[in-house]
């Protein structure tokens, strides 16, 4: 038998579950956000910049 009554403590639990889902979603992103970014990406940006500088020099 399903209890369809809307008791105050049940509403509290519903809100709690919803809040936990939101909280966990934030945690998925946040836990990825605190990860150290591998050096290869900063290196890649530096390489792109160097290449550009070299090209500009050649064109001058």
């Amino acid at each position: 038998m399903r209890n369809q009554g809307s008791k105050p403590e049940q509403d509290g639990q519903v809100d709690q579950i919803k809040a936990q889902i939101e909280e966990n979603l934030k945690r998925v992103y946040q836990s990825a956000l605190v990860e150290e970014v591998p050096d290869r990406f900063k290196l890649l940006l530096q390489q792109l910049k160097d290449k550009e500088a070299l090209r500009d020099e050649v064109q001058r």
Binding site: M1, R2, N3, Q4, G5, S6, Q10, Q13, V14, Q16, I17, K18, Q20, I21, E22, N24, L25, K26, R27, V28, Y29, Q30, A32, L33, E35, V37, P38, R40, F41, K42, L44, L45, L48, K49
Partner: protein
């Protein structure tokens, strides 16, 4: 004066500041660090080459996120993973009940999150977790704001189903009726 200075800054020099959120988005979207890093690399290359298309003074992070998600979806279309399950690879319900103290374990939550479709993961991360507004997410996803809202709502509901928090799934037979009713209403309230 300040505006002139800001306009003088090459946005390419600012890319490095966005690596962390960009990679976090990629990891959240692909749920696979190797795939995420490949995606970040491709996004950097595209952003660098196409920097003239970036409108100075607009949101650089949103622009990068847009490139990343477009790259991801076009690579998905190309490879069209051989999975005949559009709702997710692991569409089976996981049956996760909150612990007796009412908290759901994060590992269980991750399993459910991983089982969502890419579109559902994307909308929940963009709107719910990374703090973009509905309008910003709509612009990134190339859809109307109303579509973002309805997709987010469906995604939450799907997530609740995967977590076994849905009504009428019979996951909780043997569990007291009050708990059953509560989780059923929690799922219904996601709509």
């Amino acid at each position: 004066m300040n505006l002139a200075v800001a306009a003088d800054i090459d946005p390419r020099d600012q890319l490095v500041e966005h690596l962390r959120p960009l990679r976090a988005f990629a990891i959240s979207l692909t749920r696979n660090v190797t795939a995420a890093d490949d995606l970040v690399q491709e996004t950097i290359l595209k952003a660098w080459a196409g920097i003239d298309k970036f409108q100075r003074g607009s949101n650089l992070q949103a622009w990068l996120f847009t490139i990343l998600r477009n790259t991801y979806y076009s690579s998905l279309r190309k490879s069209r993973r051989e999975v005949a399950d559009p709702d997710g690879v692991h569409a089976a319900t996981l049956s996760v009940k909150p612990d007796h103290d009412g908290r759901m374990a994060f590992t269980d939550f991750l399993r459910a999150f991983d089982a969502l479709s890419d579109e559902h993961r994307e909308v929940l991360i963009l709107v719910g977790a990374s703090g973009f507004t509905t309008d910003e997410a709509a612009a990134m996803m190339g859809v109307a704001a109303g579509t973002v809202k309805s997709r987010a709502s469906r995604a939450r509901k799907r997530l609740a189903h995967l977590l076994g928090l849905a009504e009428g799934e019979g996951m909780f037979s043997g569990i007291d009726a009050v708990t059953d009713a509560v989780i059923g209403r929690a799922a219904a309230a996601m709509e």
